[in-house]
Symmetry: C2
Subunit: 301 residues, 2 copies
Amino acid sequence: MSAAVLIGLDWGTSGARAYRIDAGGTIIDTRESASGLQNLGQRTFEAAFDELLGDWRELPLPRIAAGMIGSRNGWLEVPYVEAPATITALAGGIRATPGGELAIVPGVITRDEGGTPDVMRGEETELYGALDDITADALLVMPGTHSKWVLARSGRIVDFETYMTGEMYAVMLQHSILGRFNQSDGELGEAAFLRGVEHGLRAGAIAHDFFAARTLVLSGELAPADVADFLSGLLIGREVRDGRQWARDRGDTLSQVGVAGADALSGRFVRALVHAGITARHIPRAAARGLFRIAQAANLI
Amino acid sequence: MSAAVLIGLDWGTSGARAYRIDAGGTIIDTRESASGLQNLGQRTFEAAFDELLGDWRELPLPRIAAGMIGSRNGWLEVPYVEAPATITALAGGIRATPGGELAIVPGVITRDEGGTPDVMRGEETELYGALDDITADALLVMPGTHSKWVLARSGRIVDFETYMTGEMYAVMLQHSILGRFNQSDGELGEAAFLRGVEHGLRAGAIAHDFFAARTLVLSGELAPADVADFLSGLLIGREVRDGRQWARDRGDTLSQVGVAGADALSGRFVRALVHAGITARHIPRAAARGLFRIAQAANLI
């Protein structure tokens, strides 16, 4: 068994993971806890950190973290690096916690034409982990509560855009009138999902499309069991439409599209992209490998 | 005092109103109850009706109702009339409750190019009440939980489109991450609202704009007290952008735009429309006058 050279942490809002990583960037073993930022309660970050690491705390290894742990509500607010951002710039923006427990990777900030900021924390690290070759050109879609579309060029995070797709889905399904019709069994209804994707890919107002979902049920043209999948398709389809336009406006040809995220959700995005005529492949998210590469760039290992 | 010739009811999801109306179509007096469809509990429609009318129940007058009372979950499901719909078609679609207590006005259904249905119940009546001249050409914006944009031509409801703007606002502000930042005092912050309108009028993804609201707060560029007004402006601005395109696609020149709704919300829509370069005037909603006109067309009075 190879020896660990690094402890990497992926520490976000809902949970935290620690990896022991070897000299090849491969995970040796993983520890997990529910101690995300929103679950800390009265505990300090130090306490949650000790609990997560356990006896790894004694290992004489560098430790590096990415994610919301570096945000204003985290252990230490690490200033954003401005896009276009290189891995070297990320490495240069690393800050250590006051007690030296942990080096924290910065997030990235970009601004649109109107000057409105957009931000990421954690995805920059996952992106550098997900790419086979970190200097490759890619358009990476990172689905989730707050999906990101990220344009990478020759090793730089050139620009990105966030869509609150996952949160809109959850909130509208749970709290709007659409929830009243929802009788989903939790299985993916492929036909209803693709029907939603088709709606979403069309021009139109999402506020109108939501109402259409309700009306289709009332008119008997959409089964209550299909509401959740239709809505999922509608929102993902709309994200694909909007993200595609965003990427094209930035000169991307959509020839290298990767979807980096959890299996089930990424599968939905790949389906929606293919439905829009875009070839896309699923790439596992790879926070540990990203942490390893950034630690290398920072000469921590 | 003039004599009543009609009892008109505006009976919706959250409440019910009854009007005694004279031969000139003017309201003599009004009775109100909270007995909307969602508040009936175990009571029958008959019981709620008796309670609302009280001693008006004994008056030998025709009675006519509009709103969700004619829906599937109402007292009697009255089939939709298809757009384009004339007031004569609405009058012809009236159905009486089994006991003859009440004549109920039908709603209107339309379908978009893709065949997806859109529906209204109550707004058709308010529209015929709101127009000075029911044969006038108009584009009527009817703001609310489910806003409607309605195109009227020579006395016909030609087409309409619903936007779930009000519900999206409420649900996202209460249940999404945006709610965490909201510290509104309830007063309209004009500057924040118009800033939201400007965002909304721009092309872009609403799922991205929601996230931008969060990011602007985090970067100190939007005060927590302004989040609700910014979000309101964003959603109303987007509705104006989408509705404007919808109307233009149907050949409307946006020269006769009326906003028919409650004062405060209509004021916001008028502001947003003017900000988009569209002259708009506020028209009070007039269910009673609409009921009177439809009752005339049906020879009930």
